[in-house]
Symmetry: C2
Subunit: 151 residues, 2 copies
DNA sequence: CCGGATCCGATAAGATACTG
DNA sequence: CAGTATCTTATCGGATCCGG
């Protein structure tokens, strides 16, 4: 279930070069980043792993909900995020907490009360997600139209 | 399973108010977008659906590869994207093509040659992904450190 | 009210072999 | 080379019961 990689030795990728591709479009910077994010970095700095973790529907919506509302309890989250199940919210929140995106605060009271909120890291991720969701909102209609057109 | 949009009447969310949340942080705009992206929009403009589609590891890497290199054949893609299987690349490309993100060009020659490249829509998505991947690259180390620290 | 644990069906995804 | 079909395995996700 969990992938443990210990040693890391991060950011040792100075001499990044790309295979054989002379017919470029001049986006060498993008290509470096891609290579870095893909082949090489998967071992030393698992960008692919990070992407896989945050590119989950429930994670995105959870982060986004917390970003929009600031601080929510479990029951509030499950109400905000349409369609999420009890279990998936639990799993998602635990993952996000484990990666340092959200902070979980337990108030030892009766009835129990647990608050979730974004960490700094979570907020920085929120910035990116904001862009994606905004884009999806702006282009969703076009995508749908395209899908239907070619049935 | 399939949600048909039909009437649409998008962006009719002027009077969007949230349940019981007076302790806001002033991000009413974000909350509107969230609501729109989540509950409401899932029926008329499936932002959640779009998110689910593009928030796939292989989709992201495929788009990104095509964005970075401009135009690639099947075999080039499978070589660029580390770890993707023959089958998953096929499936991913089909989906992306079906949503209008990439264009597939078949050259009727021997040996067969098929090129893939981003559409305009694909390029606009690429902008967003660029932000995400850049973020993942910048913060990957921190995330890893956090994961290991609390192992 | 929060959430952990378990069972189990549905789906995704890798490996492999085959077609044009 | 590009793509399909099938088989098998791994993971996801819902339902439910339980405990703090």
């Amino acid at each position: 279930m969990d992938k443990q990689e210990g040693t890391a030795t991060l950011l040792r990728n100075s001499g990044v070069t790309i295979a054989g591709n002379e017919e470029l479009k001049g986006d060498r910077k993008l290509q470096e980043i891609f290579n870095n994010a893909n082949t090489i970095a998967n071992e030393i700095c698992p960008v692919g792993d990070v992407i896989a973790r945050i590119s989950d529907k429930w994670s995105i919506l959870s982060i986004y909900a917390l970003g929009a509302y600031g601080k929510l309890r479990f029951s509030e989250l499950i109400h905000k995020i349409d369609g999420i199940s009890h279990r998936m919210l639990t799993v998602t929140l635990r993952n996000l907490e484990g990666d340092g995106f959200i902070k979980r605060t337990v108030h030892a009271e009766v009835p129990p009360r647990v608050d979730y909120e974004l960490t700094e890291l979570g907020h920085s991720l929120m910035q990116q997600l904001s862009g994606i969701i905004g884009w999806a909102e702006a282009n969703g209609a076009e995508i749908l139209a395209f899908r239907n057109k070619k049935g």
